[in-house]
Symmetry: C2
Subunit: 344 residues, 2 copies
DNA sequence: GATTAGCACTCGTTGATTGAGAGTGCTAAC
DNA sequence: GTTAGCACTCTCAATCAACGAGTGCTAATC
């Protein structure tokens, strides 16, 4: 069967209406609200066709129809016109990026908050991926005679700091020398490229005490392999309650519990390597509890390097056109900001 | 009216039953389950008295009775026997504190998780309060020619780090000298005691560039006054769904939204300065959305210094005896751990 | 041949009614 | 002072009918 012009118009009308109302849309509603000079009976016939073609579904016989995942996919790929941001929204975002925040966590957190505030959906923003980040400096900072602080600074903020014990008789000056040496070896590399063996080879060279050496290697290894730093910031987690499809307590709990699984979120969102905005709709999600959700993601970068991802999660019936506009804008804003701040 | 022995027994029975069942308790139930050799009619009379005295409430005429806030207060103050932890629980906690975690955030986060896992309620743990924490070292770490990292190390981990721009022609060695000087001035002080004027006075002494000086003072001031560091970690936020009193979507949303208000939580929990476990029951809470909740808190310390607070939030009908046992134990465990790790 | 009016049919929603069950308070007997 | 007995109250769950939204089909119309 052909997917003619009129069918497309009707489908679009149904999707638009359903996105707003969350109620199955009937033929009369389409005829009246989106009056296109044809009667409800004609629309009924077309709707029956659209159902046969897999674009519409009927919850039960005497209800209207709701769009299928296939319909949403068609919608976002072909039908949807991306709205541009409202003036006040754009201004709100711009204002935010004016004030200098030096702490990257704060920045990411605020980004999540803005996303959820503007869209009224739940947002997720990943902190920069370690393996994309360049080491700038490794510094051992003396704290007390027995402890030193290992700081690893990168081109997107300080990513790691841990306290390591040091044996007696090691001077701040000596720590400084080690720091300089480590920095010279690893500067400009990513965490992926760090080879712990390089450190091991230094042993004979300038490292004095065994205990200290072990602590240092431990701390470094921990820094490199640590996945705790894969942090995920949420915005408006309870926004999901705004939608009637989540007025069910069990469903809401499942959703919120999912949001607590940071590793899972991280894995899911960091997948789309590709630049720009991408959309995953309903059943396309792998995770069971997300089969009724859609996720719109965008990446953010420093210079040309993709550092992380931000996403909006909401019911399949999502205001895609608005969400895409917002997240695209935010991705670019954050990238600009970071690039200005950290890129040389 | 007298609050005799038998009345207390009956009250206790009703509280115990209601804590488990969440259903109003009737006279027959008390007679049967907590058989104390008296008939349901007698118990009915006693219950009527207890209601007159304000210890019991009746949701409606033909329902059983539920304990009032006053009853819970009496219960936690006089009736309750604090259970000791189960062997497996104690072991679980002990195991956790065996493995060395050097990062304080990680530690706090895990503490929250353990609390909620063991109790099945929602837990809240505050990060150490800045004004209680002693500065150990202030260090400017050079990153690139134009940027340095300001690290403030304290006796409970690294609490602040921000990036500040530095003007040209300032050598790492010079940064080191400033660091040493700042450290010598502020070491052993708390953030409260820092007087920014002291820094201003140095101006004529060793500070060279105006721009740099301003950045430094800005960053320091930000560190001192920043309240972003008042972080709050949650454990098991959705545990609230376990309780029938929160099967209502609106109530649940209100509760979860409250948990997102970190500053508010911080203020509420950091109030009880006193050592040990304290309990706030239902109406005693100031916040409207907590009038049906109880909060059990304990403090944690380094040495003798109270650093922060942990809390369990649940419905008024809470298993106080178990919760008190758990949180008391956790408070002490965390204090021991921190003291061993950081106190000299 | 496409469109439309008309109509019978389906099915979920709403509101009223009803009976069962739980629990109480009171009275009178023990 | 305690208890058995009983009328009374109130909630909860089940049942049922009326309603309305929406459909699919048929026959008439453009």
């Amino acid at each position: 069967m052909e997917l003619g012009e009129r069918k497309l118009l009707i489908l679009q009308a149904i999707i638009n209406d359903y996105i707003i109302s969350a109620e199955p849309v009937g033929s009369r509603t389409v005829a009246k609200k989106y009056g296109m000079g044809i009667s409800s009976a004609t629309i009924r016939n077309e709707m029956a066709d659209l159902e046969d073609m897999g674009y519409l579904e009927q919850p039960h016989t005497s209800a209207g129809r709701i769009p299928s995942n296939k319909a949403y996919r068609l919608y976002v790929d072909r039908l949807m016109k991306v709205k541009s941001l409202s003036v006040s929204e754009a201004k709100y975002i711009k204002e935010f990026y004016k004030k200098k925040t030096r702490q990257i966590e704060q920045l990411i957190f605020q980004t999540a908050k803005i996303l959820s505030d503007i869209t009224n959906y739940t947002s997720v923003v990943l902190t920069p991926q370690l393996n994309k980040v360049l080491i700038r400096r490794i510094q051992l900072v003396p704290l007390e005679p027995e402890y030193a602080l290992l700081v690893i600074a990168t081109n997107s903020g300080v990513l790691k700091d841990s306290i390591i014990p040091i044996p007696e008789g090691i001077s701040p000056d000596y720590l400084n020398r080690i720091s300089n040496m480590l920095t010279s070896v690893y500067k400009g590399k990513t965490f992926d490229e760090i080879d712990i063996n390089t450190v091991l080879e230094m042993q004979n060279d300038i490292i004095k005490g065994r205990a200290f050496f072990n602590s240092l290697v431990d701390a470094l290894t921990e820094s490199i392999t640590a996945n705790e730093d894969k942090e995920v910031y949420l915005g408006g987690p309870t926004n999901i309650f705004n939608f009637p499809e989540y007025h069910d307590v069990l469903k809401a709990k499942a959703f919120l519990d999912l949001l607590e699984e940071k590793e899972l979120l991280y894995k899911m969102l960091s997948k789309p390597e590709k630049n720009g905005v991408s959309i995953v709709i309903g059943e396309e999600n792998e995770h069971e509890d997300l089969k009724e959700c859609s996720i719109v993601t965008a990446t953010y970068k420093i210079g040309d390097k993709v550092l992380g991802t931000m996403g909006i999660i909401g019911p399949t019936r999502m205001e895609y056109s608005r969400v895409v506009a917002v997240i695209d804008h935010m991705g670019k804003s954050l990238s600009n900001y970071l690039t200005r701040l950290f890129n040389k």
